[in-house]
């Protein structure tokens, strides 16, 4: 590793010294080193390396806090393990905070004190980002979004071509009203996607378009900005995260839509529902909802009719951390799934106690940590196997990708589906719709 410059150190320490509120100081002072969080962490549970204990990850940041911000740490650093921000510390921080944490927050819920460990890990990533030390692989995905408007760098022409192709197939099946409207202003809903949908997995777009058609929704997708993802939450650069969030925010005004609907993406939903207004430092004055909440509103208002017997295979839910533990959608996800499938089984544990798929926190983008990612995924794989389910439903494309890889690696023989795909399969069209 190259030697740190004084500017790098100053930039990182400045963040420590300027907490916006009492949250950071609280969580950096609260850990009592009981070490009981280890058993709640997928990394420690599967690899038994002491460095993976969540408290150790907190310690990496709080030891710097003590060194630079507390009297005891300045006078007697040995007493409280106050550490210099040097090359060694930074190397360990990159490896542990970027490479060994999915920021799933499972340890937070189970912490004996209540330390928000993933908040501290994210703060550590912010310090690293301030020093320009984000892993290249992760930064590449952020750069793709900043440079091209979507995180896979899909040219507009290719995107339009793909959507038109999907629309043709949809019209073949349901008639000319089954459309995927592009760039139509003053529609109620502005719908967003994970770029991996148009690029490689477009069935979920068709599924959602079918649901919109059945619900007779007024909706559109903007070719200018349709990307729901925001890897700025992972690389720890809040300015970049804000830049990406602002694009989607501004697109709502550009398209004059009323409701921003977040495609099935855990972190993307988290950023645009919860973090975005804080990045941009003002509340959003339009409504924001996830796909799952929108589908549920259709079910509750009778806008769509479902026959759950059309999905006979046994289904289980994988709870995306950013939507359930960190997003409060536990019962909403169950409502959508239970209305769409005939046979359902819960995973154990599930809900706010769920294990991460293993691909969160930007892990899917960082190939250098691939081995760890597949190893921690073993927990999820065995959980799925134990349910005996044939289909795993999850409202997050990032989880879908990790689960698909686990499905292959651990030979689970299941199908991974989004909620929209399951719901679309259960749709019943009344005669009026079938013209």
């Amino acid at each position: 590793m190259e030697k740190l410059t004084k500017k790098q150190i100053d930039d990182a320490v400045r963040l420590l010294k300027m907490p916006p509120d009492s949250k950071l100081v609280t969580h950096l002072n609260a850990c009592v080193h009981c070490g009981l969080c280890g058993e709640s962490c997928m990394y420690y549970k599967t690899m038994r390396d002491n460095r993976f204990i969540p408290a150790r990850k907190v310690e990496l940041v709080s030891s710097l806090y003590r060194r630079y911000c507390t009297l005891t740490g300045k006078i007697a650093p040995f007493l409280v393990n106050a550490k210099e921000l040097d090359e060694g510390t930074v190397k360990e921080m990159v490896d542990m905070l970027f490479g060994a944490c999915t920021m799933c927050g499972r340890c937070v819920k189970h912490c004996s004190i209540g330390v928000d460990i993933s908040y501290v890990v994210h703060f550590g990533r912010r310090m690293l980002a301030a020093m320009g030390l984000v892993p290249d692989t992760l930064q590449a995905t952020v750069n793709a979004a900043l440079d091209t408007g979507n995180n896979m760098g899909i040219p507009v022409g290719d995107f339009v071509d793909t959507i038109e192709w999907l629309e043709e197939e949809l019209i073949d099946e349901y008639g000319e009203n089954a459309r995927i409207p592009l760039n139509e202003k003053e529609k109620k809903v502005l719908y967003t996607l994970n770029p991996r949908e148009p690029k490689f997995f477009p069935l979920s777009i068709s599924a959602m378009a079918t649901i919109f058609y059945a619900a007779k929704e007024s909706w559109t997708i903007s070719t200018n900005m349709y990307d729901v993802t925001n890897y700025g939450i992972f690389n720890g650069d809040n300015a970049q995260a804000g830049q990406i969030a602002k694009r989607l925010h501004d697109e709502m005004y550009n398209m004059q839509s009323k409701l921003l609907v977040l495609g099935e993406c855990g972190h993307g939903s988290r950023v645009n529902r919860w973090e975005g207004p804080n990045y941009l430092k003002h509340p959003y004055d339009f409504e924001v909802a996830t796909v799952v909440e929108l589908i549920n509103s259709y079910i509750r208002n009778g806008k769509i009719k479902l026959d759950k017997n059309r999905n006979q295979e046994l289904v289980t839910i994988h709870d995306p951390c950013n939507l359930v533990r960190n997003g409060g959608l536990l019962s909403e996800i169950r409502f959508a799934v239970k209305n769409s499938v005939a046979n359902f089984v819960e995973m154990n544990p599930c809900g706010t106690d769920n294990f991460c798929c293993g691909g969160g926190g930007g892990q899917l983008a960082m190939s250098e940590y691939n081995e760890r990612r597949l190893k921690i995924g073993e927990i999820k794989a065995e959980q799925i196997r134990a349910t005996g389910a044939k289909i795993v439903a999850t409202p997050c494309h990032n989880c879908v990708d990790q689960l698909s890889q686990l499905n292959h690696t651990y030979k689970l023989g299941v199908k991974i589906k989004t909620i929209a795909e399951l719901t679309a399969d259960a749709l019943v069209f009344d005669e009026e719709n079938e013209d």
Binding site: N151, M152, N194, P195, R196, F200, F201, N370
Partner: protein
């Protein structure tokens, strides 16, 4: 045989040394026995990469090969990215794949 270097995700780090032999070798790791349909997909991906420097859209793969979406997912259970693009010797695409 050329020495193959992979990134942590199993994607070639030196995509220029790719050959059909290499493709077979990677496919074997994934338990895929390369059929004509597999080759058709892999060749489209490869030529798109050599021409434009990135993976083609799934739309392009379907159009050029005449295969249906469903067929492609069946041919490559790991999907177009981790399955087909890896066999075609591309570096790992950015994003959630």
């Amino acid at each position: 045989m050329v020495e193959l270097k992979f990134d942590g995700d199993g994607f070639l780090t030196n995509p220029e040394i790719w050959s059909e032999e290499v493709a077979k070798q990677i496919a074997q790791e994934d338990g895929i026995d390369m059929s004509d349909q597999h080759w058709a997909v892999v060749r489209i991906i490869r030529s798109n990469y050599e021409e434009k420097g990135n993976a083609p859209m799934i739309r392009t793969i379907c159009k050029e090969t005449g295969l249906k979406l469903k067929d492609i997912y069946e041919l490559f259970p790991l999907g177009p990215a981790r399955g087909a693009c890896r066999i075609a010797g591309l570096p790992k695409p950015d994003g959630c794949v």
